[in-house]
Every structure is written in C-alpha cells, then in structure tokens.
C-alpha cells in the first residue's frame, strides 16, 4: 500500500456528522473514457458541439421515460433527512455529497429549463443553466455516488439519488462525456463475456486448477464444468470469483454445495460474468444487452434453471430487471425461481439437512456480516420481505460457531456502502473510496476491538475488492474480508455422504 497523500479519517467510535467543507472532494474526479470505447458503445467519441442543448433534450427525454426521475425532480422539499446519510458525505464533509445537494445539481438545470419558477426567478429558485462549471460538477459529483440507496430509506418520499446519478451519467455519455472505468468494463463484457476480459482458455485453465486444488485438499472430485450442455443449473458469477482473493474461495464453496446436493451445473464462457455495469451508467440498452447474453447462454446450454453467485448490484439487476430486460424465461423449469441466489440454494439445502457441516472448521473466525447495499435495499431473497437480510445470516450461523451482529445503525436496510460500488471501484478515486469506507470501517473496527471479530463476511464482489483494498488504510488487515460461501466451503463435509 502506497503512502496516501490525503488524510485518513480517524476511527474512534461510530462516525459523526462532519461540519460541511465546501469543495472538500472537488479534486476527486474520474478519467475520461477513450474515444474508441465511447464509439463502440454507440456514444459520441468527443463532447459534441451542441452539448448544452443535447443534454437538456436528453434530460427531457429521460424525464418522460422514467417516472422515478419525473416525480423526484419535483417533489423534494429539502427537509435534509438524507443530508447526513451518505457515506461519501460522512467521509469527506463535501456538501455536494449530501444526497439532496447531489440531486440539486441536476434539479437546478431542470428548473432553469423546464419549470416556470426556475425560468422566472433563476437562482432564487436554485435554477441554473448548464455551463462548463455545472458540467464539471456533474462529472465530479455524479461519480461520487455509489447508487447505494441509503438516502432513499430515510426520505419521506423515497427519493432515490441513484436514479439521479444514473440519469446524469446517461446524459453525459450521450453528449460524449464518459467515465473510462465503466465504459471500458462494458466494452470488455461485450467482447469477452466478462468484465475482467478473461479469454476462454484462461478460464478453462483456472477451473482445471481449482478442480485439482480441491481434490488435493479434500480428496473429492468436485467439478468446475464450463459450457456443459444439459447441466441442470447455469451458474453465473462475478468474474472476480475466478481470479481474485478472497472471491475465489466462495467459488469453491458454490461448487462444493452443488457437489453435495448432487445437482449438475455449468459455467458459461459466453456469459462468464454476473455483473452488469449498464445499470451504473443508467443505460437501458447496454443493461439489456448484457442481460440478454445470459438468457442466450441459458438457452444454448439447455439448462433448467439459473443460479447466481455473490454479487450485489448484479443481484439487483438479476432479481428485479432480468425478466423485464431479457424475459420471459419460459424455457426454464418454472418450479424454481428465476434467478435463484446461491444463498437461497444453499440455505434451502441446510434447512433440509442435506448438507453435512462441521462448524468447528471455522472456529478460528469470529464472523460478522456486512449487508451489501444492492442486496439490502434493492432486492429480496426467499419468500418474505427482508429475506435478503436473514438468509445469508442463517447460512453463517449454520457454518460458524462464532457469529456476531453489527450494530443496528449500520445493519440491514441501514447498512453503509463499502465505498466502491456504483462504478467507482477505480484507482483514480482511491481517496474517495477510502473516505467513503469510513462509516462501515468504523463499525467493523468497534466489532474487532470489542467483540473480537476477525472476519467480515459479505456477498458482493465489489465489496470484497473494495474492502480488501481500503481496510488496510485503517489498519484492518485485508484478510478480515471474506465471502459467505468461503465459510460454507470450509465447513462442508464431502465424500462420506
């Protein structure tokens, strides 16, 4: 870890609301997308000449297409309930990171161009035309929103800032102002089937290595099949699960669960990626394209069902959007939910007593659980609302002897984002990521100091990548981060069933 050239927030107890510091995170900005990547996506390569008019026209178009935006642009009363709820505001103190202020960056342009009050009274109504400075604010602050929806929980009207940052990014892309990280990743997923750009031979190599590795440690032939026609289950995972630590330990866990259940599964090289960055940039067509390729893979491999791995935003897209984007999935077995989360799959087996588990295998860990934002506030698992909170916890309690809860103020629907979600998991935003992680890191630090916690489990690839990278800034070892199925993997007893 390089020595940072910024101040690391001090963690002593739960984070407090900071005094506002104007411009505190104005310097944290993104790299622009390369021309060729923008063109591949169908966006203008450069900022277009009539960018102001084009942006306003796009805003008008989105307002007609999205009820959320159309309503949210009008009804905020600026009560401020959201003001101290954003992890980036708590970490930086920059007032533009207060959700309401972030929304106002778009709303002021809306007022100037679309409302009577804004046209008549200008700045008195906080109405402003889109100019160089405002565009710069958009680029900066709409890339300081991880679309975690925490603000919307506390809003009396449920206004969701994610809808604003998605719309703003869509507008910016449409005038040729793109973010390198997201645009490149979408380019890779379209080209290679996954966000990391892993070619098929490398994927085969990894899966073969994992088979050998599991054989060596357990003595059991656990399979990691790729592109096997006629398997029961198409398993879709975040591509980090193939290559990154600690992600890969959960991948091993999924394979062991399928093995123990006697359910055949396959990965797909065409759709080796669960993530869908189309959502982060608010682009419906890209989001649909990425989702459709998964439906195509499922058809082609003639599977009966789709199960998905540990990834937060992708679970939101899969659970809430897939059927709309790429459905209907009438070719799948209707007995199973489409899609099913691996946690639902595993927990069902545990409840049926179909897995042999040795909890003591995890005795070196005192585990707590981090609710990932998109799972917590934008999806469900199981039959009842809130199942997305309880099912991963039930699994952890079933596979670990020592499990403890985080405080309510940072848990379940009130969980804080890891600081790297929403397409911000990129190096140029490291200062933002470190500061944005402060609220959750502070809670974890307390758990470590007071409860002896040495492991925070989670079910999101971005959370895992972000925390392993930023927790060391807070003197918390990166080894304190793990996936839920890594503990399933440790505890599960194969072979003698």
């Amino acid at each position: 870890m390089a020595k940072p050239d910024f101040e690391i927030p001090k963690l002593d107890g739960p984070v407090k609301t900071p005094p506002i510091k104007k411009g505190a995170s104005a310097h944290m900005s993104i790299y622009p997308a390369k021309e060729q990547m923008m063109t591949t996506m169908g966006f203008p390569a450069h900022r277009v000449d009539n960018w102001r008019e084009a942006a306003i026209a796009k805003l008008g178009e989105l307002k007609e297409k999205y009820k959320s935006l159309n309503v949210f642009l009008d009804i905020c009363v600026k009560c401020g309930a959201c003001a101290d709820k954003c992890h980036y505001f708590l970490g930086t103190g920059d007032p533009n990171n207060m959700p309401v202020a972030r929304q106002e960056l778009l709303r002021k342009v809306y007022r100037k161009n679309f409302t009577v009050g804004g046209k008549l009274f200008g700045s008195m109504a906080n109405a402003e035309d889109l100019d160089e400075d405002v565009l710069k604010e958009w680029v900066t602050y709409f890339h300081q929103c991880s679309q975690c929806r925490r603000c919307s929980v506390f809003c009396p009207f449920g206004i969701d800032t994610a809808e604003f940052s998605m719309a703003a990014r869509e507008i910016m892309d449409s005038i040729g102002v793109g973010h390198k990280y997201s645009v490149e990743i979408i380019g890779k997923v379209n080209e290679t089937g996954n966000n990391l750009g892993i070619p098929k031979p490398a994927l085969i190599g990894t899966l073969e290595f994992l088979e050998e590795d599991v054989k060596e440690t357990t003595g059991v032939d656990v399979r990691f099949p790729l592109d096997e026609q006629g398997a029961d289950v198409l398993m879709i995972v975040p591509s980090a699960d193939f290559f990154s630590a600690p992600h890969v330990d959960s991948l091993v866990g999924y394979a062991k669960v399928f093995h123990a259940a006697g359910v055949s599964f396959t990965f797909s090289s065409h759709a080796s990626e669960f993530a869908n960055f189309g959502m982060f940039i608010g682009n419906y067509d890209q989001m649909r394209k990425i989702a459709t390729r998964i439906a195509d893979a499922a058809r082609e491999l003639k599977v009966k069902r789709i199960v998905v791995g540990e990834c937060g935003h992708a679970w939101r897209v899969a659970y809430n959007f897939w059927n709309t984007l790429a459905g209907p999935f009438e070719f799948l077995d209707p007995k199973h939910p489409m899609p099913m989360h691996i946690c639902e799959f595993t927990n069902n087996l545990i409840k049926q007593g179909a897995l042999k588990l040795d909890k003591s295998a995890n005795d070196e860990f005192t585990v707590t659980y981090h609710d990932s934002c998109n799972v917590a506030r934008a999806s469900r698992m199981g039959d009842d609302p809130g199942g997305q909170f309880e099912i991963p916890r039930e699994i952890l309690r079933a596979v670990c002897n020592k499990y403890v809860e985080m405080p309510d103020s940072v848990n379940r629907e009130k969980t804080y984002c890891c600081g790297g979600g929403g397409g911000l998991l990129t190096d140029e935003l490291m200062e933002l990521r470190v500061k944005g992680a402060a609220p959750k890191a502070a809670a974890l630090k307390e758990m470590i100091d007071k409860k002896g916690v040495n492991m925070m489990a989670m079910i999101c690839a971005i959370c895992k990548a972000q925390f392993t990278k930023v927790l060391p800034y807070y003197d918390i070892p990166m080894e304190a981060v793990g996936g839920v199925h890594q503990f399933v993997s440790n505890a599960i007893q194969l072979g003698d069933k």
Binding site: K65, S68, D74, G80
Partner: protein
C-alpha cells in the same frame, strides 16, 4: 376591488386544480421501465397500500431519518389539518353540527400553526447542512405559511373581523354569485396570502402533497418473481 379579488379567487382555484391535475396526471402516465422499490417492500398490493398509509399518516421514514425534523414537520402537517377542517365551515351552509361543535377545540390546535414553521425556518438557517441546501424558494415557502398563520391568528384574536361578512363573501364565491369582499385589512392580507399559496402550490416543491403517491420506490409492489414487469417503451 371586489371584482379584482373575485377574479383572482376564481383564477386561483383554476390554477391550483388545473396545475395539480396536469402535474399529477403527468406523473401517472410516465412509464416505470423497471421495478425499483426500495426494499424491504411489501409483496402484495394491500401491503404496499398499508405501508403508504402508515408513511403519510406518521412520516415513518422521516422519523427514522431525523427526529427533530420529524417533530417540526409532523407537527406542522397535523396542525394544518386542523386549520383546514376549521375553515370548511366558511364555505358551506348549513354547517354540520359536528363541525360546529369541534370549532373551539380545533382552534386551540390551529392557532399554533406558526410555531413549527418558525422552528423549521430557524433550523433551516442555523444548521450548516440545511443552510447549504436552502434557497430563497425554501425560505419563501415557510415565510408564506408563517404569514398566513400569523394573519389568521391576528384575525381571530387581535383584530376581530365580521365573520358573517367573510362567510357571505366566501359562500358567494362558492355559489357563483359573488358579493363584495369585506374591507377588513387583516382579512384582505390573509386572503391574499392564501390565494398566493394556491398559485404557488402546483409550481413548487409543495407538489410533494400529491407527488408522494407516485414515488415508484415506495408504491411499486415487490413481486417481480410472481409477475413479469413489462417496460412499455422497450423496443
């Protein structure tokens, strides 16, 4: 002068109702391409209706978010309800006995209207976060309501007006046979401010009054597994 007020009154009613209908109808017909409820969210329509009734009668989310803001905001809205109910008697004849009976009690609550508004204004100015997000429009909305409240209280307690004449004027408006407006200065101020509020309402953040019922994060049923959601504009 009476003619001016009569014209302004009818115009206010027209602007308010047409404006609100135009905006709310616009919300209603805007498509929701995707399911975006903020979860956990009820999985049945009944559950969602119940959640929203609880939300608009208790401001539950605001309560979770900030108890002090909730206190001011909730108190204001409850008092406003009393104020509105109390005023119904001026627009109908005869007055139902129940409405007449509750007048003195409702008055005890209604007269407090300026207090939570002043509290909200002070809070908006003095807390750095709220000062940052507040524009003239936000102060204007509070001040307008404060002056409506103060002029109303003045009319009731300090500068007694002839309620019979006022009711005659308002009933005249309702019955579409307008009579002269009482030339009581405080009443004229009070009435003008209320007209201003009606004009302002559909063009301002006060739209939240109807808009809240169109917020997709709160009003969508969380039932994607049971029912495929269709995007009407997907090609």
């Amino acid at each position: 002068m009476s003619l001016l007020f009569v014209v302004l009154s009818y115009a206010a009613v027209a602007v308010f109702f047409c404006g609100m209908t135009y905006k709310l109808w616009g919300y209603a017909i805007t498509p929701s391409p995707l399911k975006i409820p903020t979860t956990p969210q009820p999985t049945t329509l009944g559950g969602v209706i119940k959640r929203n009734i609880i939300e608009v009668t208790t401001f539950a989310s605001l309560f979770k978010g900030n108890r002090w803001t909730w206190l001011g905001g909730y108190a204001f809205h409850v008092i406003l309800l009393f104020v509105v109910v109390r005023h119904i008697r001026l627009f109908i004849n005869p007055v139902p006995p129940l409405l007449a009976e509750i007048q003195p009690y409702a008055l005890l609550v209604a007269m407090l209207l300026p207090l939570p508004l002043l509290y909200l204004l002070v809070r908006r100015i003095s807390v750095d976060r709220y000062a940052y997000i507040s524009s003239t429009a936000d102060h204007f909305a509070l001040l307008l309501l404060i002056f409506i409240g103060l002029s109303g209280v003045t009319l009731k307690f300090l500068s007694h007006s002839d309620m019979v004449n006022i009711k005659e004027f308002l009933l005249g408006l309702v019955m579409l046979c307008p009579v002269d407006i009482p030339a009581h200065p405080v009443f004229l101020i009070h009435f003008s401010l209320v007209l201003a509020l009606a004009y302002y309402f559909p063009f301002s953040k006060m739209l939240h009054a109807g808009g809240v019922f169109f917020s997709p994060t709160r009003t969508q049923v969380e039932n994607v597994r049971e029912m495929r959601h269709i995007n009407p504009w997907a090609k």
